[in-house]
């Protein structure tokens, strides 16, 4: 599944980051690379964006950005 669908509070690991865009590069540079542990902390009031915890810090991203990140529980 992708980060978009990961249930809140569930620990997971990134398996791949898909796409070739600037956004993909950005996501990886922020530390979202295969092997890193992630967790979705919450979603904003209207459902978007979501707050993701990784490498000890919190990153907010839109759901369609989270779609590029494949994770496994």
């Amino acid at each position: 599944m992708t980060l978009r669908d990961l249930p809140v509070g569930q620990d997971a690991r990134v398996t791949s980051v898909n796409g070739n865009s600037v956004i993909t590069r950005r996501l990886m540079e922020m530390g979202l690379i295969p092997g890193v542990a992630v967790q979705v902390i919450k979603a904003a009031p209207f459902g978007d964006p979501i707050e993701v915890r990784l490498r000890g810090y919190s990153l907010a991203m839109r759901k369609n950005e989270a779609d590029a990140i494949e994770v496994v529980v």
Binding site: R25, G31, I33, P45, Y57, S58, L59, A60, M61, R62
Partner: protein, 660 residues
């Protein structure tokens, strides 16, 4: 090292992630002697200051906060250009001080990995170590330095810890060839960008494994607890609205006292000049042109200072990021970034600090779109105009028995501004400022107590920038407008023609023999311009006298009130609540004897003011923030067109509906 080498000033770059404590460190090292400008040709801010490195003078360049040096954004492009020495008058740095946040070590080290590739000696300033240790983790600084092959100094600005050590270490590494840890294997180089990113983080993981010990306790960080409330699905938004209202209200009320004081002081200064200097052109120029012009600039200072105080507090505490997080969905529906909310909201007080605050928006196009629509948020300068119109034509009227028409009209004007702003943003983002929507990707930093010194310093720097840049333009235009209203000098009349209506008999000012102000204004270039544009503004319901006032108010909106007072001969010192001005407006007549003003005229004027760009201070700031003349001119153009069309629809539409 020979003598000349010892005396050459060295250049040191300060680089690091946003929220890592870089600015606080920069302020501590350079004191108040910073210089802020723009890099040539771009809107990226260039901050430099002097730093004494073991007795040698060094120029410390504060690079913009970045997550990467790979040059995908303008900030990164400029920063890597600076480090490579590619930029025209920025010398290549002799060393880099890397600011690394101990509580966020892995991601912060990513940037450091990239710094190694530039061949310049690096020294790491490790910040937030006290916070880190409070969370019961431990860090072996020496081991960190060994594995990174780079000196690591723990710094704490508040206590001063490590600052001197940092300076000596930097001095030590000058003119040495840095030894770089082995990060990349050959395979990584070949697999292109992604391979390099993975390799860097894998190396970082190894380093962190050897030098950092994380406590086992599951930390319920204080920040998370606070966030449970502040970003709560429901309460979060309510709290946000409350915070915004508080900021808004405070700026309005706290600023009004100093603003009044400033206005009075400048008025007193002008009076003083008139009393001391002989009557004549020079005196009038100094009193009414220069002093009034300067006063018109300085009067914005209280609002600007207060707004930036709040912006700094909200940003440095970390709350700003939460607000953007909460509002992003709403703002992106209209094509704006979540971070646009504070600049737009601030513009309800005054668009000038609002526009300056758009710096927090990284995407150039999103930033410009926000700047272009900020003036539609009805600012406080429009209030005197709304108030005068409502008091003159809609006083005492109610709807449904107790809702005052005046209050409804005010609300309607504010709403009109917001609606047009949203529509304009929509159109701009689809046409002139069309761009792929940039990622929202935004860090939610842990909540921190803002550093008071940093906040105050930021406030003062921004205010000074405003004075310097906007001030010169505003002063120049004030003088030009003064001249337009002052020349040609009207003849002092011997006998004075009476006019029907309430306009009082004009008498020459016996003290100075200067023509009375009303006659002077009517005969000046400004008056002639008013006559010239009358055919154009007639469909909006305005006559040439209103035209003169409109022209004058393109300098600053509230000038409409004082100009109307002069035109209708009720004296210069009237404000929007004075009875004599109100009745003068009600009773003013056109050349053909018809009333110059009807309630519909007033409505049309208000709509014009909602939509028109009538503030050269704003244009001056837009010029500075966009680094070009075309954007402010575009803003002036499209807003004038919108204002004209809006007033036209209002007046003609009203006539058709029989409201005239």
């Amino acid at each position: 090292m020979n003598d000349s080498g010892k005396n050459k000033p060295i250049t040191i770059a300060l680089a690091g992630n946003p929220n890592a404590g870089k600015t606080t460190l920069f302020n501590a090292l350079t004191g108040l002697k910073q210089k802020v400008a723009n890099y040539p040709g771009v809107t990226v801010e260039r901050k430099e200051g002097p730093w004494a490195v073991n007795g040698r003078a060094a120029n410390l360049i504060d690079l913009p906060g970045l997550y990467s040096l790979d040059a995908t954004s303008l900030d990164e492009h400029i920063a890597s250009g600076v480090i490579r020495g590619d930029l025209a008058d920025v010398p290549k740095p002799d060393a880099i001080v890397a600011v690394v946040d101990a509580t966020n070590l892995e991601r912060n080290l990513y940037l450091v990995m990239q710094m190694f590739e530039f061949g310049i000696p690096v020294v790491i300033a490790l910040t937030m170590i006290d916070v880190f240790e409070k969370q019961k983790h431990q860090i072996d600084i020496e081991m960190l330095g060994v594995m990174l092959k780079t000196p690591v100094i723990a710094v704490n600005v508040k206590s001063g810890r490590g600052l001197e050590e940092l300076a000596s270490k930097v001095h030590e590494v000058l003119n040495t060839t840095p030894s770089i840890p082995h990060i990349f294997a050959e395979a990584d180089e070949e697999s292109g960008h992604n391979g390099k990113i993975f390799a860097r983080y894998n190396f970082i993981s190894k380093v962190v494994q050897e030098s950092v010990w994380h406590s086992d306790q599951k930390q319920h960080r204080l920040s998370d607890k606070i966030d449970k409330i502040l970003t709560h699905r429901f309460f979060g938004l309510i709290i946000l609205v409350a915070v915004l209202l508080l900021v808004f209200q405070t700026i309005f009320s706290w600023a009004s006292l100093p603003m009044d004081l400033l206005e009075q002081s400048f008025g007193a200064a002008a009076d003083f000049v008139r009393a001391q200097m002989p009557p004549g052109i020079l005196t009038d120029l100094v009193a009414d042109g220069i002093i009034a012009g300067v006063g018109g600039v300085v009067v914005f200072l209280p609002q600007i200072l207060l707004l930036f105080l709040f912006i700094s507090l909200l940003e440095d505490s970390g709350y700003m990021a939460r607000a953007a997080f909460l509002l992003d969905k709403l703002m992106s529906r209209v094509g704006l970034h979540g971070k646009a909310f504070l600049p737009l909201f601030s513009s309800f007080a005054c668009a000038i600090p609002g526009i300056m605050a758009t710096r927090t928006i990284e995407s150039r196009r999103d930033r410009f779109a926000t700047i272009m629509i900020a003036p539609f948020m009805s600012c406080s300068a429009r209030l005197p105009v709304y108030t005068l119109m409502i008091a003159t034509f809609f006083a005492g009227q109610t709807v449904l028995g107790y809702i005052s028409v005046g209050a409804l009209l005010m609300l309607a004007m504010y709403t009109l501004g917001i609606v047009v702003a949203v529509a304009a943003a929509f159109v701009l983002k689809r046409t002139v400022l069309k761009a792929a929507p940039p990622p929202f990707l935004m860090e939610l930093p842990p909540y921190r107590l803002p550093n008071l010194r940093t906040v105050v310093q930021n406030m003062l720097t921004r205010a000074w920038l405003f004075l310097k840049r906007a001030g010169t333009v505003i002063l120049a235009i004030s003088i030009i407008l003064w001249a337009l209203m002052y020349f040609p000098r009207a003849q002092v009349p011997d006998s004075v023609p009476h006019e029907t209506g309430v306009e009082r008999v004009e008498t020459a000012n016996s003290e100075t023999d200067a023509p009375p102000e009303g006659a002077q204004l009517r005969n000046s270039f400004a008056g002639k311009l008013g006559h010239a544009i009358e055919p154009v503004i007639e469909p909006l319901g305005f006559d040439w006298k209103i035209g003169v006032a409109l022209i004058a108010s393109f300098a600053a909106r509230e000038v409409l009130v004082s100009t109307l007072s002069i035109i209708y001969n009720v004296g210069k010192d009237q404000n929007e609540e004075s009875e004599s001005l109100i009745s003068a407006v009600r009773n003013a007549k056109k050349e053909d004897g018809q009333p110059a003003w009807t309630p519909l005229t007033a409505l049309s004027l208000m709509v014009f003011f909602v939509l028109a760009m009538q503030c050269m201070s704003t244009l001056a700031v837009v010029r500075r923030e966009t680094n070009s003349w075309s954007w402010p001119l575009f803003m002036l153009g499209y807003m004038t067109v919108l204002a004209y069309v809006g007033a036209l629809i209002t007046y003609q539409g009203g006539k058709i509906l029989g409201l005239a």
